[in-house]
């Protein structure tokens, strides 16, 4: 394609949400993402669908926004949300005044909540510490961030929207202070493309400043890093929050078969090259263990870090938790006189749809399109019939069926058809997350919208490699699947697998002892300490 109306930069929740919103309003759009879906903050957070409880005390409006969006997302994207419910826990060292404040603030924000005694809480969640003082319930939930972004993209693409991954923005072309086109480079093939457009939406999160600079505009962003830990299996059924002024390691979120503990907060120079220090990780475990004691001994699968992009206009105080978490919509026509450029910075995952709506309203006005936002009432996925479960049950065992249909919805029919043709496609490529070969081939191939181009991409679309083995076995089999479906030559396949494995290993770098270290050593011994650094050929790569 060489022209469209709107080009969105950034494939996180906000960007994907904007693509969907614009598409529903009939505005043709293209989304360019420098790496793969949810590369930035979206893919590196808890995936917590806030009830608003965490913000009620400080900011009732934000809390109300969260609650409303929490309910909206449960309605429009139930397949992305696990409605776990949540608890706010007071420990002996927490301020009792804050606890009461929380109760009042939650009511002010309209958050449905009940007060529970410590024993009631522990009956619900046996892994909680014995010394908890009090508990509130709340409608927190977990949202699968990758599934959510993919859902927005697929829904939009089914209606004609376009998406390009591994598309690094190179230039924003202007004529007479008006945006006319963008140029981007496919980082896997090296090819450059030019796309004419009337509007560019900068939804690039931590990279928003860099993107704006390409147009000569300014978006001052502070990057605040947070680190999270992934634990081997679920330690609780519900989201567990610490009931205190927000601090580190306050939240434990069940996320599919694992759970996530986090997070921390420190300002960093930029969104790339993030590392987590040993002390940071130990601090997370210590704090978390106050809520759930078995965290102290629990097996950690990996650590990862992401940045919150906080809009910090020149006169604001330095970033961090105090800086505003609500978003900023910057119209660069007003700010710098550049027509056709709009930036959106900040906000949180829970309110992405609301942010996208604000941006789409702005863009629609600029394009003189009179269509209302429909995203709050349009489901992101068509319902599937119960027949699909029955059909899947003929070839796959129950948990595999459940996972397949939850992930792929009606697309599962195509995968089942392939399995019916070739029974070997029922093989579980990822045994930790129950991903069949058929599903892997599907996300790699043509029929899949927003398909995978790397093994890590397959992971984001299926959770392959997210489990205990961290890609040791499944990554190899996924590589073979990519080779068999002609995504890669043998040499490219090995290079891709090497890159993938190194990235998986990097997230386990902090391990000093314990079972995950043994798992890592097993992985290294299978493929050699430095697997084939020499086999890397062709193209420039995203990292």
């Amino acid at each position: 394609m060489n022209s469209t109306q709107v080009v969105i930069i950034g494939g996180g929740a906000t960007g994907a949400g904007i693509l969907w919103d614009l598409t529903l309003r009939g505005i043709p759009a293209l989304l360019l993402e420098q790496a793969d879906i949810a590369h930035g903050a979206t893919g590196r957070c808890h995936g917590l669908l806030h009830s608003g409880g965490r913000y009620a005390v400080r900011d009732v409006e934000t809390a109300r926004d969260c609650l409303r969006e929490n309910r909206t997302l449960k309605r429009i994207a139930p397949h992305c949300v696990e409605d776990t419910g949540g608890l706010f826990i007071q420990l002996p060292s927490d301020d009792p005044a804050f606890f009461e404040q929380w109760w009042r603030a939650a009511h002010a924000a309209g958050i449905p909540t009940e007060r529970l005694s410590a024993s009631q809480a522990r009956a619900l969640e046996p892994s909680l510490a014995e010394n908890i003082v009090g508990t509130f319930t709340c409608p927190d939930a977990h949202v699968d961030v990758f599934r959510l972004v993919l859902a927005n993209l697929e829904a939009a693409m089914a209606r004609g929207a376009q998406f390009r991954s591994y598309a690094q923005l190179v230039a924003i072309e202007q004529q007479n202070a008006r945006v006319v086109a963008v140029r981007y480079r496919d980082t896997r093939t090296g090819e450059e493309h030019r796309v004419g457009c009337a509007t560019v939406v900068n939804a690039a999160g931590g990279w928003a400043g860099q993107v704006a600079a390409l147009a000569g505009a300014s978006v001052p962003v502070t990057c605040d890093k947070g680190t999270l830990l992934v634990l081997h299996h679920r330690l609780s059924r519900r989201v567990i929050n610490r009931c205190r002024v927000p601090g580190d390691a306050d939240i434990l979120v069940p996320a599919g078969p694992v759970c996530l503990l986090g997070t921390s907060s420190m300002v960093v120079p930029g969104p790339d090259g993030l590392t987590a220090s040993h002390e940071e990780i130990q601090a997370l475990i210590r704090e978390g263990a106050a809520l759930v004691p078995e965290l102290a001994e629990a097996r950690i699968l990996r650590s990862f870090s992401g940045v919150r992009a906080l809009y910090t206009p020149p006169r604001a105080v330095a970033g961090g938790r105090g800086a505003s978490r609500s978003y900023a919509l910057l119209d660069h026509q007003e700010l710098e006189g550049i027509a056709g450029l709009v930036s959106i910075v900040g906000g949180k995952l829970t309110t992405y749809r609301h942010m996208a709506e604000a941006v789409a309203d702005c863009v629609a006005r600029k394009l003189d399109v009179h269509a209302e936002c429909a995203t709050a009432t349009t489901p992101l996925r068509a319902p599937h019939s119960s027949q699909l479960h029955q059909r899947a049950g003929l070839h796959l065992e129950q948990p595999v069926t459940e996972k397949l249909i939850a992930r792929r919805g009606t697309d599962a029919a195509q995968i089942l058809a392939a399995i019916e043709q070739r029974p070997e496609l029922a093989e579980l490529v990822c045994e930790c997350e129950m991903v069949t070969r058929g599903e892997v081939e599907f996300v790699l191939s043509g029929p899949a919208l927003a398909g995978a181009r790397t093994i890590a991409d397959i992971g984001r679309r299926t959770r392959l490699g997210f489990g205990p083995c961290q890609g040791t076995y499944c990554g190899y089999k996924a590589m073979l699947a990519g080779y068999a479906t002609q995504q890669w030559t043998a040499e490219q396949a090995v290079a891709e697998f090497t890159r993938y494995l190194n990235e998986r290993w990097k997230g386990q770098d902090f391990l000093e002892e314990g079972k995950q270290l043994q798992q890592l050593e097993l992985s290294r011994s299978l493929y050699g300490e430095q697997p084939l650094a020499t086999a890397c050929t062709g193209g420039n790569h995203a990292h």
Binding site: H232, E397, E431
Partner: protein, 397 residues
Amino acid sequence: MPHTNFDLDNCLKCSVCNTACPVYAAHPDYPGPKHLGPELERMRMEGIDAGVDAVEYCLGCHRCDLACPHQVGVSEMIARAKATQRKPVMRALRDWWFARPGLLGELLSILPPVTNFFLQLAPVRLLMERLMRITARRSFPAYAHPRRLSGIGRAGERALFFPGCFLTYNRPDLLEKILVLLAANGITAEVASSGCCGVPAVANGNLAEARHRAQATMKSLRNAVQAGIPVLTSCASCGHQLKSGFGGLLTGSAAASELAAHTWDLGEFLAERAQQGLFNTNFFTLDHRVAYHAPCHLNSQGIGRPWLQLLARIPGVTVTDLNAGCCGMSGTYGFKQEKYNVSMAVGAPLFTRIGELKPQLVATECATCQMQIEHGTNARAVTPMEILLEAYDGRPF
């Protein structure tokens, strides 16, 4: 106790458990302990419906646990999963009875001649197969009137013998022989009236019943445990159950730990006394070429193979350790029609080995191993206790 160190976190997905699983090798569709245990356990903890019919095919032999280099405790996870598995009505009904051999035994031993007559009638067996899916290809063991046994041996050291359901309802004669054997070794044993230890309940997915049996058993043995009287059992499955906190059901219970510390396998007990110089070695010379088959639940007790050592002491007895895997019977498992073929396939290497060695006798302390060996080979299978008693009293069994 080592069971408390078993942990889901420990699994490195190395698949060694699959290499040790006898059902994996015998049944092409069996997913294996790695999948049914730790992999599905993470799904179960996530709360999704992880019900897989294949869990029913786990023998409960514990070989996966023993082979695991990282102490994952696989078989316990599978046993818990069995308990939530939905079954067709008739199978559920059948398994309800199979979970309660104590109850079944009480009923069937009221009029043993009548029971035994009907249980070998072809039409009855055919009906059982059609309706209840109990295979007609095997014979049931004969039932007998339970005997009140006590006072065998005078003023010896005290012990409490836990008989288990098989000795109580099917072989009270053997139970008596065991008491005589103990008396010959200076032990006056009372027979515990505990009822079933609960292993069949676990195996048939009835964990509530298993817990009930565990509590009842502990209660009936409490006095002996507190008085320091050793609890002996010759049934390897009962022994494993009593030593392991009832298969992990009562992990953390101080009473269960105490019972575990006071339970001896009969062979283990006699071998210990042998080391103390208290084993009766007044033997008649026999003439037996014996092949010994160690029950899986003896291996899982981790006490070596004491009967091998004891039998080797009898003049005229040569013993070879068969070491040819699981027999495939696993108590009630082999009686289930849908599992019969798997049961025989699992035991095939053992049958072959017995066929190669052609021993005069196969010795094994487990009653259902005995049944399976006699069903799958031409060999005669006896318990080592009977061989030992023959060495004491010179009377062929």
